[in-house]
């Protein structure tokens, strides 16, 4: 990189300009990545954090997909699932959006009904009939703590504990007993207990397809179950498309810059070839230059995005972790290098003969 380093210093105006573009795109990608992960977590954390590997939904009618609002399973279903060979645990889980009140606050929440003592809820041993566990976000929204009383759809329930940060469809979660959950969704005395899905812990030996066919359910992995949250797919999809476009734009901008740069340098390249530079030497030199530019720009941009994300964290859902910080940075560098590599290919076609008689 003998020439590349010196070019970077000599033409620093051009490289600083290009580096600034890389920085800005990295900041944007970093912020969008943190926001995407934050919004996704606010939409799905109650599901993704469940200690279960599969969820069994009511089998949808033809042409429709699984859906939490539509799914409705009865006690016979989860009891039968518990008998399926290879199924370690099968627990009912009821999910319904509702309104929670304390003496001073009202908040929209997602009530998650589980059997008393269920391990599905954090601090699950505290969930009993008449006693709920609040997620920290629910406790903050309602300004409630252990020992307080919250009202869910007219039922007064004691707060047994505050645990976890589960949220569902951008609503904080309140964990109730399955009996109390029935009061939120059904008229008093109306039929037997029901739930939304069956949360399963399975082994590889479980024949889920056969059990689905026998029990009239559709079972999917916990991660695949996220598509059953109405807003998640469209919201997450839109943000991922934005991120994808930013990555593509970054690769194109880098590629365009190095295309112009290589054309401008073609006279120098011809001279170096005439003096005995191998094509490999010249490609390594140019690619090294692109890597330096991309790494510096991406590191600065990521640092700015992390700082901004930390500042915004309290106001908007924003996740700062390895996946939202290092992941996008590495993708930016990889795509930028790919863009640069495509554009500097023209080095191979520069004819050293043009160095003879050229005026430079």
């Amino acid at each position: 990189m003998f020439v590349a380093w010196r070019d970077l210093r000599f033409a620093k105006g051009r490289f600083v300009l290009m580096g600034a573009v890389v920085v800005l795109i990295t900041v944007l990608v970093g912020l969008v990545s943190g926001l995407t992960a934050g919004l996704a977590r606010a939409n799905t954390s109650a599901i993704t954090d469940l200690p279960a590997d599969h969820l069994a939904f009511t089998a949808p009618i033809d042409g429709e997909g699984i859906s939490f609002p539509v799914s409705d399973v009865d006690a016979g279903t989860w009891t039968a699932w518990a008998q399926v060979p290879g199924v370690i645990t099968a627990e009912p889980l009821g999910i319904v959006p509702t309104r929670a009140q304390t003496s001073e606050r009202t908040a929209g929440v997602a009530a998650f009904g589980v059997q008393p003592g269920s391990r599905l809820a954090p601090s699950g041993g505290q969930v009993r009939n008449g006693a709920v566990v609040l997620s920290t976000t629910a406790a903050d929204a309602l300004d409630a703590r252990a020992g307080d009383t919250v009202t869910l759809a007219g039922q007064d329930l004691r707060v047994a504990d505050v645990a976890g940060d589960a949220s569902y469809s951008h609503m904080p979660v309140i964990w109730t007993s399955l009996d109390d959950f029935q009061q939120l969704t059904r008229e008093p005395g109306e039929g037997a207990a029901r739930a939304t899905v069956v949360a399963l812990t399975t082994t590889a030996a479980a024949d889920l397809a056969a059990a689905d066919a026998a029990l009239g359910t559709t079972t999917v992995s916990r991660d695949d179950a996220l598509s059953a949250i109405g807003s998640f797919t469209s919201e997450n999809g839109s943000l991922q498309v934005m991120r994808g476009f930013l990555f593509a734009i970054s690769a194109l901008v880098i590629g365009a810059f190095f295309t112009v740069w290589t054309i401008q340098r073609s006279g120098d390249i011809a001279v170096l070839k005439a003096l005995g530079a191998s094509t490999g030497y010249l490609l390594r030199d140019a690619l090294g230059q692109a890597v330096v530019l991309l790494v510096l720009g991406t590191v600065v941009g990521t640092a700015i995005a992390v700082t901004a994300g930390a500042a915004l964290g309290g106001a908007v859902p924003f996740v700062l972790d390895l996946g939202t910080v290092a992941g996008p940075a590495l993708v930016m560098i990889a795509l930028g290098v790919a863009g640069a590599a495509l554009s500097i290919r023209r080095i191979t076609s520069v004819d050293p003969l043009t160095a003879l008689g050229s005026a430079r």
Partner: protein
Amino acid sequence: MSLHLTDVTLTYPDGGARLTALDGVDLDVPAGTITALVGPSGSGKSSLLAVAATLISPDSGSVVIAGTDTTGMSRHRLTELRRTRIGMVFQQPNLLPSLTAAEQLQVIASLDGRSPRTARGRALELLAAVGLTGQADRRPHQLSGGQRQRINIARALMNEPAVLLVDEPTSALDQERGAAILDLLTTLTHRQGAATVLVTHDRSHLTAVDQVVEIQDGRLRSSVPAGRH
């Protein structure tokens, strides 16, 4: 340590036909001598230089550089030969704008995988030899045309070439600076023992060389000892 061209023929595509640039050229340039190559524009001087520099492979004939026959060599080997055995002085200095005077020479070591830092000593020696002591850290835009051309010459000598190919080095310089450059080339050729080919239009240069070769329509017309022009 010499240059031999034997029965070299080179043609270029010219519409549907082929244009003959070099036609059965034989040329011997012994080590430590300068051969001037003269001829009108389009006579084949640049083609001969390009063939000798291994930038073009001839249609037929052989080019032997310091005992190495280049016939049938791969592009990779030819590039290596150019890097290690051939020095080129371009018509224009062709210096890289981002490099200082010393770095223009050090880059030659870098091309060959050697440390440019350890090559700085030789670069400074060569700059001193071409009268540029104290100018090592200046970039091309900070130097005069004559100084740039001197760097062009020093760069060509950096790899201790067996063959030095010089393409009208004084065309952009005034008479006085041109004569100084020619003196320098003559001295360095004799000192380094290179086989030097000097393409020139300036007939005043011919008294300073060891051999004069005239080329016309791709053929060598005469090979005249120096001092007859």
